[in-house]
């Protein structure tokens, strides 16, 4: 046995090298294909994620839960201090709640007076977060809703309060949400109350910078930032966060969504904004038969 091993290795050596060369060429070929025809390969990637990640789901939820329990347990050490803080915050919150209730009633009254109908098409699908990107360089999440639930690339994902990211990559049962903090994320926003338009550019930090402000002097820390809907990609008016200034004097965004606890996300159905395509036309009564016209005129007179 020991003897006939050596010649067989001599024989398989070149074969192995050939196999290795073919393997490396295949891998580089996939990479080049991705570089040339990215959408097709990205669709393939979405399909792979769609097949692989749901297989992990049975284990992912319990393990994630367990790790979170351990983390929470560690925080018990500071429980007294936390309790005090929470009580104080609760006291403040009660005051805010009272204010919010009054405002809600007032708002409802005013809406009633104006007879406003809010956009009935702005509905959402809620999905559970299954996995994250798995890499420290990319910020994304995988949701358990996909093309089966009618999810389309480009729709906005929110938690209860603020914008979280946008759908990019949809499989049959899963969809990937690229977070606002990812370095490829660009969202057009408006800063209220000054009405300045800007772009929120993800840069892999927890507070993405606000770029391309027309007049930075009009923007103050604490201003509200909402989506502008420019470019027709996103619905307008979704809360994103508040402006904050970093020590370098650069305007950054403090996100409203609670990024530390993203469990359920709402994906907003967006049917696109209608645009005006034709210039104004002459408004004239529709041409009608002569007889009918004379009869109606008679009737009027």
């Amino acid at each position: 046995m020991a003897r006939d091993r050596t010649p067989s290795e001599d024989f398989t050596g070149p074969l192995k090298r050939l196999l290795l060369g073919v393997l490396v060429l295949c891998l580089l070929g996939v990479f080049l294909l991705w570089r040339i025809d990215s959408p097709r390969v990205e669709r393939f990637r979405a399909q792979i994620v769609d097949h692989v990640v749901p297989n992990f789901e049975w284990a992912m939820a319990p393990v994630t839960g367990f790790v979170n329990i351990v983390r929470d347990f560690q925080s018990y050490e500071r429980i007294h201090q936390q309790n005090q803080e929470l009580r104080r915050e609760l006291q403040q919150m009660k005051a805010w709640k009272e204010a919010a209730l009054q405002l809600e009633q007032e708002n409802a009254r005013l809406l009633d007076l104006n007879n406003v109908r809010l956009d009935p098409r702005l509905t959402f699908v809620t999905g559970v977060v299954m996995a994250d990107s798995g890499s420290p360089f990319r910020q994304s999440l995988i949701l358990n809703v996909g093309a089966r639930d009618g999810i389309v690339d480009g729709w906005a994902a929110m938690d209860g309060l603020g914008l979280v990211g946008r759908i990019s990559g949809v499989g049959e049962n899963t969809a990937r949400v690229v977070l606002l903090t990812d370095s490829s994320s660009r969202i057009p926003v408006i800063v209220q109350p000054s009405g300045q338009t800007a772009l929120v550019t993800g840069d892999n930090t927890a507070a993405p910078p606000i770029d391309f402000l027309e007049d930075a002097g009009q923007v103050r820390p604490g201003d509200r930032v909402i989506t502008s809907g420019d470019g027709g990609v996103f619905p307008a008016g979704l809360l994103v966060g508040r402006v904050a200034e970093d020590p370098g004097g650069r305007m950054r965004l403090r996100l409203s969504a609670d990024y530390e606890r993203l469990e359920f996300l709402r994906v907003l159905r967006d049917h696109g904004t209608e645009s005006i395509v034709s210039p104004g036309q002459l408004i004239a009564p529709a041409p009608r038969p002569q007889n009918a016209g004379s009869v109606s005129e008679n009737g009027d007179g």
Binding site: M1, A2, R5, K16, L19, L20, L23, V24, C26, L27, L28, G29, V30, F31, W34, R35, V41, F44, R45, I48, V49, V52, V53, F56, A59, M60, V63, T64, V67, N68, V129, M130, A131, D132, S133, G134, S135, P136, F137, R138, Q139, S140, L141, I142, L179, T181, S183, S184, N204, T205, A206, Y259, E260, L262
Partner: protein, 179 residues
């Protein structure tokens, strides 16, 4: 005898695959959505290098290629590039394995360091030449350093848990007799 060795061979290959799948699984867990200022080690690369230097038959190139391509697809990296570079790196290590076999751990660690630095830099270089979006350099270097620091632990763990040790002169004979 032959049958038992074949079972051991395939079970250890499966173990390699299984450990890599567990690593991928762990990284995919949605524990933190906030961007981190640090990066963990790339354990799959450390594991492949350690096994290739010790028992290359348990970590064949096809298996490494499949696992890394899967990781590329799942972790949103450009598919194929990192896999190809790691595969080339592991082959470079494999060709030096006979030299390193009789030395201590330090020269082996240095060789792994050189290979990892070369493939990391060429990865970034290729990405830069093709004008692709790159991760921050500091974060990437941190990941590389963490991988290098994790390498001895990976070697230790695979020796203790799965019995992956270097082939010594005496072992080679017994191995030859058994197969």
């Amino acid at each position: 005898m032959v049958e038992r060795d074949r079972i051991r061979l395939w079970s250890l290959r499966m173990a390699f695959f299984g450990v890599c799948v567990v690593v991928i699984f762990w990284k995919l867990l949605p524990l933190d959505a906030l961007p981190r200022a640090w990066a963990g080690p790339d354990l799959i690369v450390a594991l492949s290098f350690a096994w290739v230097l010790r028992r290359p038959e348990y970590a064949p190139p096809v298996l490494i290629a499949i696992i890394l391509l899967l990781a590329d697809f799942l972790f949103q990296r450009p598919p194929g590039l990192w896999a190809a570079l790691v595969l080339l790196g592991s082959e470079a290590l494999k060709s030096r394995a006979p030299l390193l076999r009789d030395m201590t751990f330090v020269p082996e660690w240095l060789t792994v360091t050189v290979v990892l630095v070369v493939i990391t830099l060429s990865y970034r270089l290729i990405m830069a030449v093709l004008l692709l979006d790159q991760a921050p350099l500091g974060l990437h270097l941190l990941e590389m350093v963490m991988t290098l620091l994790a390498y001895p632990l990976v070697v230790f763990a695979s020796a203790v848990v799965l019995g992956i040790r270097k082939i010594k002169a005496g072992d080679a004979e017994s191995l030859g007799l058994r197969t």
